[in-house]
Subunit: 281 residues, 4 copies
């Protein structure tokens, strides 16, 4: 390996630590800067759709949009440059998210440069926010995020069963409501079974928009029952997540230490002597 290559190698490694890591000061600074740019770019994109703001600052927002895209493009290039296996990165989850953060801007420029309708890409652009998770994951809140994720993961079986039970109930309730309402109310907004299911989801989760409401006595009676069932159901998974969290908390505190003399467990983290045999820990 030539001297130049070795030097480049070191540059790459340092860059990798800054761009992908978060333990060094410059890595932390890079993450912070990236976070600010992401949030600013999302705010700027949002403002572009507000009628009053667009009229006033159209030019500013247009240029801001390109500045952000430029920064993200440079960042994307640097990421590819400093990883050891560029293609693997490009096709990884975060690689695709990074690409999606910049691609829409170029596509809009190429195909809608005359100012045509480009909003279909705005949604893709908002996926940029997903990148915030990467930053969070790297540096702060990692343990908190892990705890939350673990609790959900460990309760996943119950959550899946719960969601399936909810789906079955809303499907049956939506069908019954469509039947009852569309039969007895000619102007019913329950125009189809999928509409009934949409209403049942909105109702059972206590969102209750009120755009579609039962007008017939029978429909209102069935609604009341569905609402009470939904109100009771939400209680159950809450209890399970609470239990998972608490259980995990207890295990972490307890099961890590065991007495070297009598091999008992269940000692606190700050125990100096065994609480059962009095032997030194």
């Amino acid at each position: 390996m030539s001297h130049k290559n070795r030097e480049e190698q070191t540059v790459r490694e340092n860059m990798h630590e800054i761009i992908f890591g978060a333990h060094t000061f410059y890595g932390w600074l890079f993450d912070m800067a990236l976070l600010v740019v992401i949030v600013l770019s999302v705010i700027s994109n949002s403002l572009e759709t507000v009628a009053g703001v667009k009229d006033l600052w159209a030019d500013g927002l247009f240029w801001a949009s390109w500045v952000f895209t430029g920064l993200f493009t440079v960042e994307y290039a640097l990421r590819i440059y400093c990883v050891k296996k560029p293609w693997r990165f490009v096709f990884s989850f975060w690689g695709i998210v990074d690409l999606l953060a910049i691609l829409p801007e170029y596509l809009i420029f190429l195909f809608f440069s005359s100012g045509g309708h480009a909003s279909a890409f705005a949604a893709v652009r908002s996926l940029r926010l997903l990148r915030v998770f990467r930053i969070l994951n790297l540096s702060w809140f990692q343990r908190e995020g892990e705890d939350l994720g673990n609790a959900i993961w460990r309760a996943r079986g119950k959550v899946v069963v719960f969601v399936m039970v909810v789906m079955i109930i809303v499907t049956i309730a939506g069908t019954v409501m469509y039947d009852v309402e569309s039969t007895f109310d000619p102007n019913s907004k329950f125009t189809s079974i999928p509409m009934g299911i949409y209403w049942a989801i909105v109702t059972m989760t206590t969102v209750g928009f009120g755009d579609i409401v039962p007008k017939t006595t029978g429909g209102q009676f069935i609604s009341a029952i569905l609402i009470l069932v939904g109100y009771s159901l939400i209680i159950v998974p809450t209890g399970f997540v609470s239990a998972e969290v608490l259980d995990r908390k207890r295990r972490r505190v307890i099961s890590t230490v065991s007495c070297p003399s009598c091999f008992t467990e269940d000692h606190d983290d700050d125990a100096v002597y065994c609480k059962y045999c009095g032997g030194e820990m």
Copy 2:
């Protein structure tokens, strides 16, 4: 028993294992296929009621409906064939659900073949989804379902008391609101006490459709109190289910240690002597 009978017997037993069981590969495959067919038939039935879709695919959906019914009929016949006591199956809970999954189609064909209004049967048809519970119960999530069911079952006393308290509160609140609103607002949508109770249920559970709202100052004041009561009440049963779940979890953790003398389980982690026989652990 003749050879042929014995052979038939074996065929029946194998079929029983495939159709009713879930522990063999073919049993799992059968359940999966059934699950897919049930979900597809429900989606197909739902789409039939969507104006735009019906116009486009009317024929396709009509034939799909009959294909699904045919499959369910064959399945129903096979279930009757391979159980030992057919009549007991037919009048069992799942036997009736299976019959309700196919009957409406035939009744619609017989009585509404001219294309008349058949939606009354659509609701019955959606009961097919209940069959998903049987599949779930057999194969996956059995333990999760059991846990959920147990937690609800053990908290049933509290849930009943809670629901009764809620019913009494909504009845009184609904009556009071009907009085207040219908007295002071001539165009009130609180047209009767049952309507007031419907409103109270919708409000207290925080669904809040907004189709019926208090217009008078007195009514708004009573609403505010009812809402705050409802907001506080939901807390209580949540706590009880959490406690039930956690309690059960703790017991399960405990029961892994068993006494070497009398082989009983259910001992605490820190037990030195067996609490049943007094033998050293």
Copy 3:
């Protein structure tokens, strides 16, 4: 005491046991019958206000109303007859509730016999439902009701603080929203500060009727913050009630038994031998 008096005394005592008690078969039967009559009378009163039903069954409902009132009057008289200190009963909480269950009917008859507007009394009439609590309290669910009541009672300090915090937040939020909305939107439905507070309560508790909604950008921004605060706040008291329930549960299971040999506690209810010293319990 004459023989007749003693006989009357016995009759009274037996009646007291049937009417006020719930441990004998006839006491249970009386409670059940009373429960049915109360529920029927409330349903009958509710139906009286439904336009369609009233037209059809006006006479039936009128007579039913008097039959129920007659039964409650007889019951009230019997209660007074068989208690030892009638006046104390009359002015007790349940005595007043019992009187309120029959009084409105007679007052309506006296003052509105010409068929005038009597709905003001309907609300009082619905207080009859409170009597269901007495029955529940006596016989079934007593322990469940006690548990629920205890959990709420023990968490009362937190509930009061929580309600006060909520009241302060909704008052400030309601005032701010009134200012913002009524200043920038001339047709605002935020017509006064009390209206703003009503809106804030409806919003923060996630009821969200939608009859009053912010129209200005500023108002929508403040709403979004208020909603997120409300969404986060509800979590807190839930946790506290869970903790109270669980704590109480643990104490009940644990602290009742202590070992007679080594005086240790923390034994399960079903322990035969002490888990610490092996001595018989």
Copy 4:
């Protein structure tokens, strides 16, 4: 120090105990009186904005407003008088809140004496309610408030992560909904991305005003998913707060036993030897 000065010193100290303290009877009385005046002044300010009430009691409310301001001014002067470092108090958090409680009234008098629009100050005036927290903090509920505060504080990491996750989800959901709805529904109320985010917050937290609702099939489908995600998400932090509260409670229970040798606390109920010094318990 002269006799007069010393006397003044004593007067100041006594006043300080009454005004700032809550442990003496007069201190309690002062707090109670202040609480009543604050609540009355807020009610009076609220009523001023109600059209009907203002017409009737305009003069009364005007004078009441000045009486309350006068009382608060005297109180503010006394507070400055009896603290040792007046300027430090004036620029402290509570000093500013106290000033904000009286300043608006004088500013309105100076600049809007002709009866002009003064509502911008009404909001500031409502900050008076914050002073209730000071009273609560001093006297009652201090422990309850502390417990609530501690539980939130200890779960702050999770709450921050949770709020960030919610913010990211509502931003993406709001952008997607704006795209879908504004593309397919020309009269859509999803007029901009910020509007979409506002809708997503209102929906995901189950408030569901219903002022903005999806009209397109795609929008309703995305809504249903967002609602189910929101419904599932609220469960998670609830569990964490429950766990924090319970954990804290357990620790408090534990710490009542103290080691007879080294006087340390924080021992488990079943400890036989001190975990810090190894001495027998």
